[in-house]
Structure formats: structure tokens, C-alpha cells
């Protein structure tokens, strides 16, 4: 369970970024602010 004030669980995931397939690891972004957004699916309307 996620709690404010507690560490965000680390993960690695495949990603598409500016024409390339890359791998992203949350902890690689330590030192920066991160917004992690989930959404139900590509091509959905909202």
C-alpha cells in the first residue's frame, strides 16, 4: 500500500520515448521530482 511520506516502490518498465524503445527505472530519477501517471488504456477517450 502506498502512503504519503513513505518511499515510492521502485520498478523498471519498458517505455516508448521520442521514437525509441527504452527502459525506465524509477530510482534512476532520484534527485528530481517525478510525476507517475497511470491511465486505463491507449486510445481511450478521456
Amino acid at each position: 500500500m502506498i502512503q504519503v511520506g513513505k518511499k515510492a516502490p521502485d520498478f523498471t518498465a519498458d517505455a516508448y520515448h521520442k521514437g525509441k524503445f527504452v527502459s525506465e527505472t524509477l530510482s534512476d530519477h532520484l534527485g528530481k521530482w517525478v510525476v507517475l501517471c497511470f491511465y486505463p488504456g491507449d486510445f481511450t477517450f478521456v
Partner: protein, 132 residues
Amino acid sequence: MSTDSVFVHKMWNDNELSKMVKGGVPFPMLSDAGASVGTLYGIYDAEAGVDTRGRFIIDPDGVVQGFEVLMPPVGRNVSESLRQIQAFQLVRKTKGKEVTPSGWKPGKQTLKPGPGLVGKVWEVWKTSMAFD
């Protein structure tokens, strides 16, 4: 991040989103194929088979400062997310010496917690400021 593959992300970005945003999506579109990350963050709807609209603000130490979770039919307010990040950045910069009351936006008055402010918030902050 959604449960779609990176291949579907590419199709969506190249064929639709790039028509809305010049140059396409500027940030990485992550694939949560298998839903392990959505499950880890508690926002995966196993019945529907999708990640719901979870949004997490994570600070430079990797600590969750805030989150919001919405059902799929209602979209987010990006300005409100940015406002929250700016507020958390201000609190971090002042090491908590300044805090942001309801309705705060950049440039507006902060509060400086301490013995002198106890019972005196009503003198410096009005309820109308919550709706500015």
C-alpha cells in the same frame, strides 16, 4: 503508464497524440504489461483489467508526497497537479518553515507555523482565499 505494450504506445503517440501535442508526448510512455506496477501501487482494477487513473507525486528523495486516484471516466486537472508540485517544492525549499494554506498558488501568501500563529490564522487567512 498503462497496461498497453510499448508497440501500442508508439501507435497511439505517432497516430493520434502527436496531432494534439507538437512533437508528440515529451515524456516516457511506460508499459505496465502484466500490471505488476499498478498492483504494487494499489491502483490496478483486476476485474476491469486496467490501471485506474492514479497519479503520484514523488520527491527527489523518492518519497511519495501526494497521490490521487480517479475512475476511468473522469479526467485529471493537470494545473492542480502542477500547483501541488509547486507547493511541495516551496515547503521543501523552506525546510517546512513555510506551508501553503488551502487555495495557495505560487506568489500567494504562505503561512509560517510557530507559537505566534496559534489561534491567529483567522487574522491572516480568509476562507475566500480557498476559492481563489
